[in-house]
Symmetry: C2
Subunit: 639 residues, 2 copies
């Protein structure tokens, strides 16, 4: 029931001031750096052993398994990002390196298709014995995604052939009338649906559907399993049913609960499945969950999964800025989910959240040098508190280095390198521009259309689309008008066009297009004050600032040490001007008139504290923490 | 170096609408109820076994020790409260019950004076082997306090004779040239100083001084002990030096850190010691610690010890209202500390904090029926969050029943029954009224003066002191003018008096007093808006309300379910009127004009949310949670 489908990575080319720079960072730094990490070549980094585990399993090396039970997933996510990166920028040396890794994976794979180095090397007697904790389906799922990426991005079958054998094993083993099962960490569902799409093999889809539908049925698999299994990897509580979303059948779920990455991957698979099978029940569940997340459980930055306890969704409106979790990976998962919903239904609300995630909660994860990463993404950092007090132990005031098994960095890498597949879409008769990203895209609509996009988004609201067609063609050109924008112009071939349909946040231009036609969308982009729903108690009395899709924040580097004493005037002048930020480059900075409360030394006073006027300076949130350690606030008191 | 000393319990009689009712509750309900608890007669209550432990140790019964290592302290605190209660209201049956308990304690005591049922019954080989965790000095300290109370309040020596033997043992064992030691939980220091005062035996003072001065010296005792001892009661970390304030010598400490009750008992002992020994160094340390607590680490309710992690002081200005700890016992300890500081220096700031604790953070601990108690005292309770989410597991939205070893209820009981010793003081030539509590007090100033006090404080600002002297006498009459009051009248014999000294928050009237003279202090008592220091980030954008010393709060019972959406208008009318509160009686209630933000359903909006005018109703904070389970806020958003 897809309304439109996104273009494949082979159909798009990004050439964009904002995103190309980030892609270059991933391709030039993150991907090579992660290889060195996985190969244990970085001095001072935590031991990874991820590649060595495969070499040992393959008989190429000797030794013991080392690392987390899901250590293989790092290699998988790296390979997936490599595939996309090679599509963006061919690199024979990198490709050869990946091929060698794939060859090793092939050798490590067992006769029956099984591939998981933890169990092959360390504990062969317990394969499949602990679906709750052992992450086999998760790791194989990631490797299947990598295999699909190699096929889609480069046309290469080597990893696909390996992982089809693994997928066949999974499909043979699990299902109605076979072994009962579903994964402790969802991922395999998404992977099998992707594999189905690239191979056309229906059993992959069927098994994905089985995993989705079996989940949450009684008796609970993980409770049953815990009664008999003699393997215990973590101390996970099988009775905590919400953690892995096994508390009720997925079609009945209506509130996002539990581990936010597990949840996001599952919702993504549900949406994918709905679009493949025209399953209204699943689509309805997706809509309910989407609605719950985006109207009750999401930070203004797109962060989701508010609590570090279980890295989980919390309860509605419980969005603390300081003891927050908001894992980078959970925002990546929300981008996945948004993309799938946008395929099902072309609605601006999905594109709005997609851009919110992309410009804020995802890229905030990565240091400007590409070498350090946030896992949690706070909206308030307090020197001497964040990362110091026990409740705040998980809050980093600076991006830490890679962890032993670093889930977030490779997730950011695979998302950014595949960004091209999030921007443009098409249906039978319509070309869609969902995001404003410079580049070129080839559509099959109307026999073939190419659109070249130029933009300085998100810093400027004007985007120009240039249409290349051999001869005039009839088709619809649709472009998203972001929800943050209240004033825009549509300009066709230099003249303002007032005849268009505006449906669900999209402008539709239905006409005969000639070669060289241009569409310009000019979005008025003023800095804006934002207020949180009154039920969000963390934000009472506070205001946040955005400009376009970009959330801003106040850093100590610009506003001095005591951010707590700053207040923004509700009616104070709010301006934007470009400014260099240390070594980060030049950016539009917001300034707002405000006040600094003068600390009289009293702890409590029966008079409001005196103030002195100040000019507050806000910088894009995703850039925070790049200029030394210090306080930061997104929400600031308003007076 | 005492400037004045408080009257003993035998010199005072409280007769006061506010406090007599609370004392009656303690005497009529809490004390008998606690006996039943300790004797395991309350169905459904957690097993205490506290009395049975003593009976077993005494050979009166057979069985095993049961309970916490500090289970004895419950009996000690009960006895102390009983002593004071018998001074307020003789009760031969209760006295006989206490005498039987004391007799058992005497039988349980070992030949050498040792008395601790955990070690006598359960683990005799490890007496004194674990000063860090074993609480022997803590339990004996509490029992010494009870013994002193029996002597002071009733003139009875029975428990004193027992506990002097224990104190002698402690003094023989610990000290310079003897065994090195200090307690893991301070208490013995206060106790030994009280014992010194009542007996005149200087070694008790010397040993208390030894414990204070040895603390925080290197090498750390608990670290050393942990290397060799073969007993482990808890999993306490000996390297967490701040927890029990062993991080530096006590005279050098300048920030309140660690477990707030341990800290409060130690500061109290330091102040006591300073006054007994004219020790300027200790007094300076007390002033610094007092200043740190009261200007940087205290809730507006007097709550201290902001974090549940270690039930500890946190860092300056870190005063979350929701994940707060603020243990009732820590407020009791602050009242102890304030009373000692007020003996050293007659300054209004000490009396202000004393009354803040008494009218807010201490009595908030007790349910109106005297049977349920708060241990933590939140300033913000959110239905579905407090007591539910992991970070909030320790926050009770209703007072729970007694715990197995319930530290707070008997602490409240002993404080309230000894309240008479906090109200009136005297020096050579001055009679002091530190608090406004109705009753009668006998001073030795000028050959003997009796003052009778009538007041409806804290609900009314007017207090009348009536002086009884046989014949005219010269002395100073001093009365505290609370820091919250900016407008007052002093009326002597019906005429306003403008000739008085105002020194450090006290009015001094120096004259010849005749029998029947009256002093009236008439404090203007208007409801007041309060603002927190800008560094207290939890209170940004918020206002709290007080009237006189009483902090108010907004409860769901009066303001509906969604307290988060309420805002008080900065300039809105603020009124007071008397109203019945369910079964609690009639109280002055505050009403303030405000707004309810209308939830548009949006999570974030670029417009402030619409509002509708409402009248907000605030009730005294200490009464909260007596009318069913629901939300509560002290600090409320202001617009």
């Amino acid at each position: 029931m897809k309304e439109q489908r996104f273009l494949g990575i082979d159909k798009v080319k990004i050439s964009d001031d904002f995103w190309s720079r980030l892609q270059d960072l991933v391709i030039g730094t993150v991907i090579p750096y992660q290889y060195e990490i996985m190969d244990d070549r970085i001095e001072g980094a935590e031991k990874s052993h991820a590649l060595e585990n495969f070499r040992i399993a393959a008989g190429e090396s000797e030794g013991e398994f080392y690392g987390m039970v899901f250590q293989d997933s790092d290699v998988a996510k790296w390979l997936e990002a490599v595939a996309y990166s090679l599509a963006i920028r061919p690199d024979p040396e990198l490709e050869a390196k990946a091929d060698r890794v794939i060859e090793t994976i092939g050798k490590a794979q067992q006769e029956d298709g099984y591939i998981d180095t933890y169990f092959i090397v360390k504990d062969p007697d317990h394969k499949w014995a602990d679906l709750h904790e052992a992450h086999e389906l998760y790791c194989m799922g990631h490797m299947i995604e990598a295999a699909v990426a190699f096929k889609e991005a480069l046309g290469k079958d080597s990893l696909l052939n390996i992982m089809r054998k693994a997928a066949d094993l999974i499909c043979d083993r699990f299902g109605k009338g076979k072994v009962r099962g579903y994964p402790g960490h969802q991922e395999i569902e998404m992977a099998l649906i992707r594999l189905y799409r690239v191979t056309g093999e229906k059993k992959y889809l069927d098994t994905a559907l089985y995993f989705l539908d079996e989940r949450g049925t009684k008796p609970d698999l993980f409770i049953e399993e815990s009664k008999t299994r003699d393997i215990k990897i973590f101390q996970m509580d099988p009775y905590d049913l919400k953690y892995a979303q096994t508390h009720m059948p997925v079609r009945e779920q209506d509130k996002a609960v539990g581990h936010a990455v597990r949840a996001g991957y599952m919702y993504t698979a549900m949406a994918d499945m709905a679009s493949e099978t025209d399953d209204e029940g699943l689509l309805e569940a997706c809509r309910r969950l989407w609605d719950n997340i985006t109207t009750k459980q999401m930070y203004i930055t797109g962060g989701v999964g508010a609590t570090v306890h279980g890295e989980s969704y919390s309860v509605d409106y419980e969005l603390p800025n300081d003891i927050i979790y908001a894992e980078t990976c959970a925002s990546v998962a929300m981008a996945f989910f948004a993309r799938r919903m946008l395929e099902l239904e072309v609605k601006g609300e999905y594109a709005d959240i997609l851009e919110k995630e992309l410009y804020n909660g995802i890229i905030s994860g990565m240091q400007s040098d590409g070498k350090r990463f946030f896992y949690s993404n706070p909206l308030e950092v307090v020197p001497g508190v964040s990362g110091v007090l026990p409740e705040y132990a998980h809050i980093d005031a600076e991006r830490p280095g890679w962890y032993r098994c670093a889930c977030c960095p490779p997730n950011v890498a695979r998302l950014l390198t595949s960004l091209g597949t999030y921007v443009w879409g098409e249906s039978e008769d319509t070309v869609y521009a969902h995001l404003f990203v410079g580049g070129k895209a080839d559509f099959s609509v109307a026999g073939g259309v190419t659109v070249t996009t130029e933009t300085d988004y998100p810093w400027d609201g004007k985007t120009t689309f240039r249409i290349s067609v051999g001869s005039p063609r009839d088709f619809r050109f649709a472009v998203h008008v972001p929800g943050w924008c209240w004033d825009w112009k549509v300009i066709v071939n230099g003249r303002e066009e007032e005849e268009y349909d505006l449906i669900d946040g999209y402008v539709y231009l239905d006409r005969t297009w000639a070669d060289g036609d241009t569409v310009e969308l000019d979005l008025e982009m003023e800095p804006t004050r934002m207020y949180a729903n009154p039920r969000v108690r963390a934000d009472i009395g506070c205001v946040a600032f955005m400009r376009g899709p970009v959330v801003y924040c106040f850093e100590q580097a610009d506003n001095g040490e005591d951010l707590m004493a700053l207040r923004a005037y509700r009616d104070g002048k709010l301006s934007v001007h470009r400014q260099r930020l240390g070594g980060l480059g030049e950016y539009p900075i917001l300034t707002v008139k405000g006040a600094r409360l003068i600390d009289s030394g009293e702890l409590y006073s029966d008079e409001p504290f005196d103030t002195e006027d100040v000019t507050l300076k806000a910088v894009p949130y995703y850039l925070w923490g790049n200029r030394g350690k210090g306080g930061m606030r997104v929400w600031i008191g308003e007076i």
